[in-house]
Amino acid sequence: MSEVVTGVGVLSAVSVGLTVLLLVAEAIFATYGECEIDINKGERTFKVTGGGSLLRTLAGQKLFLPSGCGGRGSCGTCKCKVLDGGGPVLPTELPYLNPEERRTGIRLACQLKVKENVRIEIPADLLSVREFQAVTERITPLTHDIRGLRFRLPEGETVRFKAGQFVNLVSKPYGDVTEPTSRAYSISSAPADNRALELVIRLVPNGLVTTWVFNHLKEGETATLIGPYGEFFLRDSAREIIFIAGGSGLAPIRSIVLDMIERGITHRPATFFFGAVKLRDLYYVEEFQAIAAKHPWFRFKPALSGDETGHPWERGLITDVVARSYGTLDNHEAYLCGSPGMIGACVKVLTGKGLPENLVFYDKFS
């Protein structure tokens, strides 16, 4: 019996020893030297020291792929096409890649280690994504669980974005949260206001970044923002516009409407349906009322689905309000921003009234 125990002990000790040896050897010898990263077939190339993840390596060159989890391999957002040099797909990537993506060389940049020259393809827009160290200029409570934040960019810096796009806000470590974490938030300010970025953020129960914003971030503090990202922006057409938003989904609509005013887009009638449950959930109402009073092409229709009475707004679910506001939708396009549930319900109503689905634009943040 004692021989068996001794045998198992020796075997375990040898295994542990070998593991330690391998780890030490990797740390000492597994330097991959200088590797070249080629982006979009020569559009940008640079040399880096190998060994890091592709996501961090690119970030080190101020090239920021979208990432919702900060490179922990849990969000599946940082996808890019690897033409050469990525090695085999790792098991940690598989849950996030569909068969078509695996076939065409899509990889998770946070999992891929740079060990040799790598050639990748990314959307051209991402080349203009930047990191900003901005000062939190103003934090404004907008409702009981929504705050408006204004970040001022460093002296001399400006930002270019399309109204409707979003940025990633990076939280700092706090409490049990030991690493910076980033989450996507729509920009609510106009592109013309290019020395600052405004966001509208709703507190999410148990949310890593929103808890930081609500409980830790202070005016005057520096925060990291990365962007812009996203394909949600006003399309160039002559169609009448239907905007629909709920909660913090108001943010990109505000940016688009302010941008329309700035750019003098007055030939397209636009109606903004803003849905909430209670009066306490409405915000920026005076601002949108003032816009509607000044610009005849713009109408603002808040709607409350709760039981409160004695208010001037529409009553009912936003989908019902939209449904009774239009007959056939034959010369319209719609821009929606809110939760997947809200968007799904709105798409049903709009397409039911004849609006082709390709004229319904939305950003589910998914």
Binding site: R72, C75, E179, N206, G246, T319, S339, S366
Partner: protein, 157 residues
């Protein structure tokens, strides 16, 4: 069930501050394997499956989904509100991301309240994980079966 290195890795991702602020384990000190085994035993004892439980809760969520946070009475009993949050939550098992937005359920008959989201239901259905004790999202399988009237599947069903 054995606490494998893979379960160790998953349990590490369930800690506070990794994927969500409070994590998935609450004050539960037990190894993940033990939590899963105990909940599986409760589900088996009730004669139901994890999928049945997840399906029942998902059906309640569906009835409030299109109401944009307006409270609705479901089955003439449960007061249900589905929060309309944007964004996605990653699974600690590394197998997908699921819409945020909690379903909050109050049962006036028992005085109990429940909370879950799409990730909670995925963890129940695919992994038999009901969160650790003390977690805001902990759901006791036996209690779910009783309160929501989940009947054992018919033999061969």
């Amino acid at each position: 069930m054995k606490q494998t290195p893979e379960l160790d890795r998953i349990q590490a991702r369930m800690q506070p501050g990794i994927l969500t602020m409070k994590g998935f384990l609450g004050s539960d000190p037990r190894p993940l394997a033990e939590i899963l085994a105990e909940d599986l035993a409760a589900v088996t004892a009730a004669g139901v499956t994890h999928a049945q439980i997840a399906d029942r809760l998902a059906a309640i969520t569906r009835q409030g989904t299109d109401l944009m946070e307006r409270e609705v009475k479901v089955e003439d009993r449960f007061q249900v509100t589905v929060r309309d949050d944007r964004g996605l939550l990653p699974s600690p098992f590394g197998d997908g991301r699921f819409a945020k937005g909690d379903t909050e359920v109050a049962d006036p008959r028992t005085g109990r309240t429940f909370r879950w989201n799409d990730l909670t239901l995925h963890l129940i259905r695919d992994h038999g994980f009901y969160n650790g004790r003390g977690s805001d999202y902990r759901l006791e399988p036996g209690e779910l079966v009783t309160v929501f009237g989940i009947a054992p599947a018919a033999p061969g069903a």
